[in-house]
């Protein structure tokens, strides 16, 4: 896993907003984040839906559907 500290633009305050913002960050980002069916999101280590609110102090994780067990 890799991560970065990222300052949210003022108008971004939900998981869905962040996902569409990330698509605009470059080709690699677009490839990964466009297929929203394949992207799962956790906010502060809890599974989160697209309408989940987010702020700069949150730990936000993106990952593909899980395959454990």
């Amino acid at each position: 896993m890799s991560g970065e500290a990222y300052e949210l633009p003022d108008e971004i305050n939900t998981v869905a907003g962040l996902l569409s913002h990330l698509v605009s960050r470059g080709e690699n980002f677009a490839t990964v984040f466009k297929d929203t069916k394949m992207v799962r999101v956790a906010v502060n280590q809890l599974h989160a839906r697209p309408d989940h609110p987010i702020s700069n102090s949150d730990e936000i994780a993106f990952f593909p559907p899980v395959t454990g067990g």
Binding site: M1, A42, Q45, L46, H47, A61, F63, P64, P65, V66, T67, G68, G69
Partner: protein, 148 residues
């Protein structure tokens, strides 16, 4: 309170069962599930499991807590391994204990169904020098429907 472990090392089913039973006579039924690395056609070299440290343990504890509110469980153990494993190696152990078998059987299935679709683990297969992330199965997600 469930016993939750996320570890590289193997686990010992018999020792875990003894640990859960120690000093308890109120448990009449134990169900154990062991999941192992499967090699269908002899082509698998190894399987590597990654997880999301921190969230993994928390998510497993949340899944166990959910089961404990649905069934009268007297005990519960979940152990999931990560790292590189060989065909036949243990991956996951679930033990449920209850006074009667029905609760123990159902809770064990519930725990595995939720673990498979919610716990942040990812499998990568190495077959003949090629590595590939394992795709999630729709059937794992739809397995949750029966518990709604």
């Amino acid at each position: 309170m469930a016993r939750i472990l996320v570890q590289q090392e193997n686990f010992n089913l018999s020792e875990e069962l003894d640990l859960l039973r120690a000093g308890r006579t109120d448990m009449g039924a134990f169900v154990t599930f062991t999941g192992t690395v499967r090699d269908m056609d002899g082509s698998l070299n190894s399987m590597t499991l990654e997880h999301y440290p921190g969230m993994t343990e928390a998510e497993l504890a949340r899944i166990a807590a959910k089961a404990e509110t649905r069934w009268p469980l007297a005990g519960c153990t979940i152990i999931h391994r990560y790292g590189t494993l060989m065909p036949g190696d243990n991956i996951v152990l679930v033990i449920t204990a209850s006074a009667h078998r029905k609760a123990a059987f159902e809770a064990a299935e519930f725990l595995m169904d939720f673990l498979k679709s919610q716990a942040p683990f990812w499998k990568k297969e190495d077959t003949g020098g090629e590595t590939k992330w394992v795709d999630a199965k729709d059937s794992d997600t739809s397995a949750l429907d029966r518990w709604r």
